[in-house]
């Protein structure tokens, strides 16, 4: 299964402005607690970690557990202080990695 993400990342901000990043990844987040119709436990398959690098700094990281709903949605906010690259990264428990890159241009008034 290929991972895909829908993200909303502003590309421009005024210096000091608070901006929001919203993300949604297609993923079943199989908990490992479910049982199929033959009584067998469905093995766990989840995304375990989400992180955001902004201008080379990891500003946010998040441990995802089975209690996170399928197609995990994460939104967070930060203060735009410098122009720089934004890299969003998801890691799964089978070693899969999904990366979304963007650039934020900070306008000095």
């Amino acid at each position: 299964m290929s991972l895909s993400a829908r993200v909303r990342i502003p590309t421009e901000a005024r210096a000091g402005e608070v901006i929001e990043i919203r993300t949604l990844v297609s993923h079943p987040m199989e908990t490992g607690f479910r049982v199929d119709s033959f009584g067998r436990r469905v093995p766990r398959k989840i995304l375990t970690r989400f992180s955001c690098h902004y201008d080379g700094r990891e500003i946010v990281s998040m441990d995802l557990r089975p209690g996170i709903a399928a197609n995990p949605y994460v939104a967070f906010r930060f203060v735009a202080d410098v122009s720089g690259a934004i890299e969003l990264r998801w890691e799964g428990d089978e070693g899969e990695v999904l990366i979304e890159r963007s650039h934020l241009e900070v306008i000095r008034a």
Binding site: T31, R34, S61, R65, G67, I68, A69, Y73, F76, V79
Partner: protein
């Protein structure tokens, strides 16, 4: 006095059971699962009340996807992490959100709830201090109901 056999309910046991459930309902909101999850992450540290806000609707129809927002009290210094626990889920530890400036101490996500319970949001400061808040959520259909009814 009437005596009951093994298959019946001895009066004393019933009364003791009622007393036990009454005592449980008066206990602070710390189930065994939550206690173990807190112990695993924070050792013997336990949270004070406050310092964090938890936004979630108090009545949800479907436990498969419940929107939550966890936000640190803006009047206090920013914590280094926010945590969310769902005490009655099969795994009570929901998520941990680690913050470095210039990120704000706030996140939104969607969680699974196996049934009605008191969610707990927790802020962790770099000096080791913990602050917590609990919010009660009624769930009409829990996330785990799919296992029981999904095959029909």
């Amino acid at each position: 006095m009437k005596r009951y056999g093994h298959s019946g309910l001895p009066r004393r046991a019933v009364i003791q059971g009622m007393a036990a459930s009454f005592t449980l309902s008066l206990m602070p909101r710390a189930s065994a699962g939550l206690e173990a999850a807190l112990q695993a992450r924070f050792g013997d540290r336990r949270p004070d009340t406050g310092g964090v806000e938890l936004e979630v609707s108090s009545l949800v129809e479907n436990g498969n996807s419940v929107a939550v927002t966890v936000r640190a009290d803006p009047s206090q210094p920013s914590p280094s992490a926010l945590h969310l626990f769902m005490p009655r889920n099969p795994e009570p530890w929901g998520t941990s959100f680690h913050i470095q400036p210039p990120a704000l101490a706030e996140f939104s996500t969607r969680i699974r709830l196996s049934g009605s319970q008191d969610l707990m949001a927790l802020a962790e400061w770099s000096d080791g201090r913990l602050g917590a808040t609990a919010v009660s959520v009624m769930v009409t259909l829990g996330a785990c109901a799919d296992d029981l009814y999904g095959e029909f």
